[in-house]
Symmetry: C2
Amino acid sequence: MLVNGKPGNSISIRDRGLLYGDGVFRTLRATSGKVQHWPLHYQKLQHDCAALGIVCPDVALLSTELNDLLVLHPNGVVKLIVTRGEGARGYALPACAKPTHLWDVALMPDYPAEWASHGIKARLCQLRLSQQPRLAGIKHLNRLENVLAAAEWNDADIAEGILLDVAGNVIEGTRSNLFILRNDELLTPDLTRCGVAGVQRGRVMEWAAKYNLPYRVEQFGLAELLAADEVFLVNSVIGLWPVRELQECNWTQYPIAMQVQEWLNHAPD
Amino acid sequence: MLVNGKPGNSISIRDRGLLYGDGVFRTLRATSGKVQHWPLHYQKLQHDCAALGIVCPDVALLSTELNDLLVLHPNGVVKLIVTRGEGARGYALPACAKPTHLWDVALMPDYPAEWASHGIKARLCQLRLSQQPRLAGIKHLNRLENVLAAAEWNDADIAEGILLDVAGNVIEGTRSNLFILRNDELLTPDLTRCGVAGVQRGRVMEWAAKYNLPYRVEQFGLAELLAADEVFLVNSVIGLWPVRELQECNWTQYPIAMQVQEWLNHAPD
């Protein structure tokens, strides 16, 4: 646990990360002292910081801290938070904010291995995501919608909840990005009005481009999701989970999802 | 500065208040060792905690802590934050969360006295508030929309920014609730899809009921705002500011706003 480069596990109660959720974060999976795709994560961190006008910590600084952390904690889920830092009272941006950055490590969740191999049971969340183009795509610290959505169920057999937006568009899982396969084409929701555009989502599109599978980013509704040939969810911790069951629909074969999963798990950086 | 009843100025980096903005807050004005309307603030805190499923700290506990704080800091802006506390990694609610509550005190902002007596210049924010009925009205810690809106200007002559929602409804100021007077009737925006329903907003309606001025909570757009006989903004720190200027419109007389202001500032608890 590092706060602004020093061992620590607390931040100021005047940090805007706490006061307003004024910050962004990254979640990485560490295995045997390595994290996958750190350059992509840094790039996304930089993008998200820029979207909020937060000065992103230097890549060399963060890389050094991450390497030090991985020596002590070679396996687990690594979280990196960057906030705008402390400032005078009120919403207005501090004149010269000094961002706060911190690292934390948690145990890798103990997900059943068959979720990756045989697919998961998912549910449709009642909560509908609001549309805010100014914040869409950014992995920021305003995550109450995800908290409320995740609070909708506590059946351990349900691995993830699927979120629609207020207009009925399919957007994502509560902590994952979503893809469907339809007529040999890969589709993933447009995230310009809500949702979080994760690093693994970008990698799936990279895979599709590399292996010449047509893919599109577009709006689609629940009916198209349920009628899909395959549905799968991705994030940096879980990798890829095919969806086996959602509402009255069942899927049993995931040929494309399995190819993508193999590549996500084993492609070099 | 008190954190869970003990002197302190930091919280855990694993507190869900930081990680997800999973908490609520109150802002009170302390004058000569007293805060106005603590019972109303506690009632609102309780309501907001309940809306998020957070266990609200006991009123006796908070009242004692507040009184102790006011002895040391008789004047200023008192902030009270209640978060869901720490939990295991992930959005899902912790099985037995122990909420975090903390107090902070800041200097009273040095607002020009004429803002209250002669009105303020306000601006219309470009950012449009998203609609999320599940979070509307709650003073929660997901405040990036307010941060982005407040970042739109840095002209010290502009005291507040007015926010519309994505549908064009007038909602509030970036840190205040809004009222308009039209044909001897008081109107304040419906906050069931976005916005924060503050304690002073409730008190203005209490005033209207007491003095038999018809009032309504309803949707209205910018045209109606600009055509109003009076426009004013309220919150617990500023009290009441009449709006003197907004876009091409100017107001010079605020007979009702001044009556409300007088009552807000001097009515007993």
